[in-house]
């Protein structure tokens, strides 16, 4: 597919604006899983604004590409995307986490148009993606299913059960992406539960692995382009990221898995985000 500089700049701006909207949503919600939302947002931005074949006016269109947010706790990072695309009313973001709201910490497919699966309990997304992929093959549909997981989430055995099966079925239409931010609730992944040799584990389970900087848009584009063209062997993308990416005091700090902050601190976050994205754009 490739990516032109002009498009890249547009995507960079979108990622910047979404980062700020995530910060606002955390304030409206009172608190939220902001660290993992900011580590994933560049990947989600690319998928939703460049790669996924979707139509916000037809959220149930059966041939659409699917996105399974296996790290379902970052609803606060995903609902802003659905609002921005018009799947849900922008005003709903201001009700996030409020009693009776359509939007809660872990998004509910029954209440949120554009959400392909209700997730939250970790380790569930990849098996669901596998089911989507197998059924698409059986029905002769050509859509792709992207599944975004956390790296801490990969402690769950069910991820590896599904990985084994995706390789067994040579199901290249399912593209696992791991947000490798090296943090989990209780600490660094290396301290809580060692995942290394992480890429080798995916290779051993039957995947070709693309390891990429998860905040480098051109590199991510290349990875997604390659994954989309996998033939006999599925491709897993391991995206090295920073938790809280874009906000200096949060960046790479596992303590910001979940946080709350007031409007004043939110403004400071946005100044950081501008600076961070200015630097990224300048480097393009």
């Amino acid at each position: 597919m490739g990516v032109e500089r002009e498009e890249l700049l547009r995507l960079e701006e979108k990622a910047r604006d979404l980062r700020k909207l995530i910060i606002d949503t955390v304030v409206w919600a009172g608190s939220g899983h902001v660290g993992g939302a900011l580590s994933s947002i560049d990947i989600i931005t690319l998928l939703y604004y460049k790669y996924l074949n979707i139509d916000p006016t037809r959220p149930d269109w059966e041939d659409r590409d699917r996105f399974i947010l296996s790290k379902g706790h970052i609803g606060v990072g995903f609902a802003p995307v659905l609002a921005d695309l018009g799947f849900i009313d922008h005003k709903l973001l201001k009700t996030y986490n409020h009693t009776g709201s359509e939007l809660g910490m872990h998004l509910d497919r029954a209440k949120v148009p554009g959400l392909d699966a209700s997730t939250g309990s970790l380790g569930h997304g990849l098996p669901i993606a596998l089911g989507l992929g197998l059924s698409a093959r059986l029905k002769g549909q050509s859509f792709k299913t992207y599944c975004l997981m956390g790296d801490g989430e990969c402690d769950e055995g069910s991820i590896w059960e599904a990985a084994m099966a995706i390789a067994h079925y040579k199901l290249t239409s399912v593209i696992p992406i791991v947000d490798r931010n090296r943090c989990m609730i209780d600490g660094r992944t290396n301290d809580v539960m060692i995942l290394e040799p992480f890429c080798d584990k995916w290779r051993a389970f039957g995947f070709n692995v693309i390891e990429v900087d998860g905040h480098d848009m051109p590199a991510l584009c290349e990875a997604l382009d390659t994954a989309a063209e996998a033939q006999d062997k599925p491709i897993a993308i391991i995206a090295n990221t920073k938790k809280g990416c874009g906000v200096e005091f949060m960046a790479d700090n596992y303590r910001y898995h979940y946080a709350s902050f007031d409007a004043e601190k939110a403004e400071a976050c946005k100044i950081d985000i501008d600076k961070y994205h200015d630097a990224r754009a300048a480097a393009l």
Partner: protein, 335 residues
């Protein structure tokens, strides 16, 4: 129930699970959206029959039950009707988080046909017994829970499950069941108890293999004791036929439940809830596995050991007929 083409001969020569496999394969012929999934138990659960006829529609996911149930959810999200079969103990416990979150919470059209339920895999021991599933699955919102009495009723239940949108859990036994139904014309309806024996002296409410025991017990009670026992085949544990329970309380004032399950949380508990909320008192006993991990043995021996075979039900019925519950002088309803 149109199109059911099983005969007495089929039910005599096919095990309950074989009848399930045959029913599923027949349904699949008319409904291309039906797929089967299993976790290395295609042969044991008989879902493998589907794969013999439609190899591309049966998915064996290896010994990985969490992935099995999550994959079924993914298929249902894309409009398929997945039938998932592994042992009841693995469906209801090993993969329960996926059953809860992926299937029931999302109200997906997944049919879980769980075999080797209750103590039907008696010699395998408690790792393979399943005396908790009715309790567990009954607590899953959106899920319908069925425990058929025999092979014929299993065939009916499987068809009803297909025709009912949303998650359905059917638990069946390993091997052959005592035959309760000779033909399919007994008016099977999901959520409606079948009255197998008329009576006004007491009511025996049973599910699964205890249904046959209950009916046999009722025949003996009538012949030997002159006691007229109503027998209800309560094949659907959820939604429970509460009306039939309330009628039994009103008409007979004595109730026994019998199930191949822990007496905690299953049919007995479901019936007790209806009785308690009815505001009417009655004499009541729950028969089943008495909140213990079972001893090892043949299924029928275990049912006898724990007192929910024909003799156990008979004994409890006779005891209950002697229960003096109506003239309770201590009852104070002035509060």
């Amino acid at each position: 129930m149109g199109g059911l083409n099983y005969t007495m001969i089929d039910t005599a020569k096919l095990s309950t699970a074989e009848l399930y496999g045959k029913t599923l394969t027949d349904l699949a012929e008319d409904h291309p959206e039906i797929v089967g999934l299993t976790a290395d138990l295609a042969k044991s659960t008989k879902i493998g029959v589907l794969g013999e006829k439609y190899p591309d529609r049966l998915f064996n996911l290896g010994i990985a039950e969490q992935n099995l149930l999550g994959t079924a959810a993914g298929m249902a999200l894309n409009g398929m009707v997945p039938f998932v079969s592994t042992f009841a103990v693995f469906t209801s416990m090993r993969g329960l988080d996926q059953v809860h979150t992926d299937i029931c919470y999302q109200n997906l059209n997944v049919k879980m046909i769980a075999t080797h339920a209750g103590l039907s895999f008696g010699q395998a021991g408690s790792t393979h017994h399943c005396t908790e599933d009715l309790s567990i699955m009954r607590a899953m919102a959106n899920c319908k829970v069925i425990a058929p009495a025999d092979g014929m009723e299993t065939a009916m239940a499987v068809r009803a499950a297909y025709e009912t949108p949303g998650p359905v859990y059917i638990r069946i036994n390993r091997g052959f069941d005592q035959k309760v139904y000779d033909n399919p014309d007994f008016g099977y309806e999901l959520g409606k108890a079948v009255e197998l024996h008329e009576g006004t002296d007491l009511t025996i409410i049973a599910c699964g293999p205890a249904v046959w025991s209950a009916r046999e017990a009722a025949n003996v009670l009538e012949r030997v004791d002159g006691i007229r026992a109503r027998v209800l085949d309560m094949h659907t544990i959820k939604p429970l036929d509460a009306e039939a329970v309330r009628a039994a309380v009103h008409d007979t004032r004595r109730l026994i439940t019998a199930e191949d399950h822990n007496i905690v949380g299953g049919l007995g508990s479901a019936v007790a809830e209806v009785i308690a909320e009815s505001g009417k008192s009655c004499a009541f006993r729950r028969l089943g596995v008495p909140d213990t991990f079972s001893i090892i043995g043949l299924h029928e021996d275990l049912m006898a050991h724990y007192g929910y075979d024909m003799n156990g039900i008979l004994e409890t019925a006779r005891d209950l007929m002697g229960a003096d519950f109506e003239d309770d002088d201590d009852w104070d309803d002035e509060i």
